[in-house]
Symmetry: C2
Subunit: 259 residues, 2 copies
């Protein structure tokens, strides 16, 4: 497989750096091809501005998405954006390696998304959204670290369910552009617990070795929504499957009957 790792951490000797190196080594040993974007090392520009376009459709007022669409038609993206788009086009799997900062991605990765996930290229224009997005057919995996315990991210935990925390990224970014989202790898409690860090590296290696066989999270295809973009009642049942695929407790027969 062709695997693109987008790695974001200011400290190369961090656990995130070690997880990135582990992925590189493990996947290369399996014969996969790898490209890495180390956004801090690249000093990637995180700021969406009019300077992202070699030519503007409208010089007067900046409509960023409209300029993206225009740039997609006229190949007017700056070189740094084009290089990342080329890696995305090449990839069959994209791994995002980053620490959970404020229950989300570091600003630098968000800036990469804001600038590189361009309308007209990865969604919209000749493409649609969600399962009609421009990156359909590709897989995505979040590999993230958190300083707090896993139980804090349970459905009754103080921080809220990890599925709820990652939903805007997994559904709103990755599935929005058509990618099949694999269940996330989350390394918990990694700040104060050296054993947890070691265990995370072992667990992640197993996840990487099983990468090709891993089933994606179930998200509804567009065809499950009506003309007002509302989930058709007959498909509401499938919501439950999300939790099965996400590795949570599977349904038992009694729960099935209640739904």
């Amino acid at each position: 497989m062709k695997v693109f790792i987008v790695y974001v951490h200011p400290e190369p000797r961090s656990l995130n750096g070690a997880l990135k190196d582990l992925a590189l080594r493990t996947l290369q040993n399996q014969g996969h091809q790898i490209q890495v974007s180390d956004l801090y090392a690249m000093q990637f520009n995180a700021l969406a501005t009019r300077a992202d376009f070699l030519a503007l459709q409208c010089e007067d007022v900046l409509h960023y998405m409209a300029e993206q669409l225009h740039a997609a038609e006229t190949l007017a993206f700056t070189q740094d954006i084009r290089e990342e788009l080329e890696k995305l086009r090449w990839a069959e799997v994209v791994i995002f390696q980053f620490p959970l900062w404020w229950f989300s991605m570091p600003a630098l990765l968000k800036g990469w998304i804001d600038r590189v996930f361009a309308m007209g290229v990865v969604y919209g224009g000749k493409f649609g959204i969600y399962d009609q997005g421009g990156l359909r057919g590709k897989k995505a995996l979040l590999s993230v670290t958190s300083g707090t315990r896993a139980t804090m991210y349970s459905p009754t935990g103080l921080n809220g369910d990890i599925e709820r925390i990652l939903y805007p990224i997994q559904h709103g970014i990755l599935y929005f552009v058509g990618m099949q989202v694999l269940p996330p790898f989350v390394a918990y409690n990694v700040i104060h617990d050296a054993q947890a860090r070691e265990q995370a590296l072992r667990d992640y290696e197993q996840r990487l070795l099983a990468l090709e066989a891993t089933e994606p999270i179930f998200y509804h295809p567009l065809s499950h929504y009506d003309e007002h973009r509302q989930l058709r009642p007959e498909f509401a049942r499938a919501e439950y499957e999300l939790h099965v695929f996400a590795g949570k407790e599977a349904s038992n027969d009694e729960t099935d009957k209640e739904i």
Copy 2:
């Protein structure tokens, strides 16, 4: 009141710019004091790095949060971070004005959070988290714009419930540091519909005029969680109130009885 507006949009003539100007004018007319951080105009640095600290506790390996904690004790933050912290300290209400990009905030605002919401100052250290956070007593309001229709953000809508989309920001960032989070102001469908933009300005003005009287969203205080940070079953009922305060359909008596 002392109101701090954090405004993030690359185009001053955008709807976001107009909403920011409207807030400034409306609140000043009511006799409130206002400060604005226009992050694009300020060319605020979005990138968390070791350069954020005038002196490092550990020169060898960067532990960003540990350095924040150290900087909080030794006043070692760079000038740009200290100025924003001073505005936060001054403010009684903080309004965040930004476009929903990828179901979240623009990278520049995330960078402001990553750098300014420092451990030891707005949470942790001598403070705790959530209702024990360093910004407790202050209120926060998200004022955001979206290019798509409101129905896309209903509980059965294609994008997912807006409450679910904003949860990592409202609960994970704003409530985490102790702020009382007011129900968000969301201007929908603002790209292709000029009428929607006009209506958004009128609606927002009404929200601003009612700002002081607006009830915050209900989030559980720490005391509702047990020693494992799990919500105590006797408080699970209160989950429902979230939806009442968020301006959704209130419960009726029959629903109440079922819970």
